[in-house]
Amino acid sequence: MQHYKKGGRLIVGTLIVYAILVLFHLGHFGDVWPPRETRHELGEFWPLSIYPMFSRGGHPWVRSHMREVADVSDPHLWQPRGFDDLPGTPYALGPRGINQNDIANFISKARTWDAQRVAGIRSVFEDDLRQKNLLVYRADGTIVGDSVSVVFTPFLLMAPDTTYFNPTLEYQTATSASP
């Protein structure tokens, strides 16, 4: 009986710590609670979680896609595109051991794009950026009628010697930055 009491206390104690930690690090619970302006910034307390993944059904999403392009001066480069008419060739992340989620989240969650942030994303592609131009697309998915629309908008063009921002988009910093 003594063991059961101890086991029960362990469960209750762990549950209390669990509840406190996830309550105070509850930034990812849809847009329901707590209000965005009051929530503690983004997160859970690994390994404890309320597991909110896929909780927002039908919610628009933002991902990323990368292309290798030859001509950085092409004015049509900055046009939004669909799956089938993207310029250049795909820059596949898998064979290079780069995590797709990291790049997608860089694009969707980074709020400011100052020199440090640009240096951060460039550092991931350091080796290839010595000789390639890499265009990072922001992919926006939304439900339109009875189908899903995916629009690829150019977000960042990383050339060997500089980085360009899409002139038609607004960023929380200058419109271009040096690496």
Binding site: H25, N105, I121
Partner: protein, 300 residues
Amino acid sequence: MIEKLLQNLFDYERKETVGEIVFYRFFELFVVYWALLYAWQWGPYLSRLKDVVLPLGIAEYIDITFMFENNLGIVNAIVMTVMLALGFLRIWRYGYLGAILSFHLHYAARYSQGEISHGSNLIGTTILFFAVATLAFQHRKEIRRTVLGMCYFFYGIGYTSAALCKLVATGPTWPAGRHLWMWIQERTVDTFSLTGSVDYNWLQQLALDNGFIATAILTFGLLVELFAVLMWFKRFRPIIMPLLAGMHIGIMVVMRLDFVSNTLLLVFLAFTWAALIDWGLRRLNVSTFDTIKKLSLRWA
């Protein structure tokens, strides 16, 4: 009711068999193996990181960038390895506690780039339970029963909480087939980015072509998650835990997201594998059985 629940979870008074000890050591080895895998996958990756996009866990309180652009990721992987070895080989009581602390630091550094990954959560919580149970109890039998009981309790809460999050954030329309279409397309963009080509597997195509099937897939997932707390009770474990494992396999095919360690953990804990091991041991000759018994007690 509470007594019944605690008995279902821990079952302390039931005599322990050799098969149970052998099973537990395999279970423990499995968890340690996955923790090591994460340690050594994430460790070298940290040297490539530079900036924090999303601070998680301890990174909300300290500047985690000290782990980037140097070899500290590898140093922390070594610390984790040593701590896990000390815990697993019963050399130091605080081994698993040290392991979970360095594991947390490792996760906070690795997932500072915006993604909130849940693939390693069950392995992490199990290491946490190894630590908590080892510190709370003296005898190995009670430690083993406590770890398993806590796994059933908190795994159940985790999955049911996932279902409640869906119902709160979206409501009863969460299983609508078009929501699955959105996730399939999201994952297709990810696959496109990873491989450079776009393709849909047969189940994705089936769900995209037929809204009813897409709704049925999501309804199954939601219901299975919602009833996950049934794993608190012995009689339901062989039903609900394989269903949850099946849900993970479905997610792997439809969403191309693999939760391999979670799926295998569920299979590990769903059935009474110890009884199968005991059945096998009874068929061995006496001296072999004695050797296994001695070894299992020595390394319990």
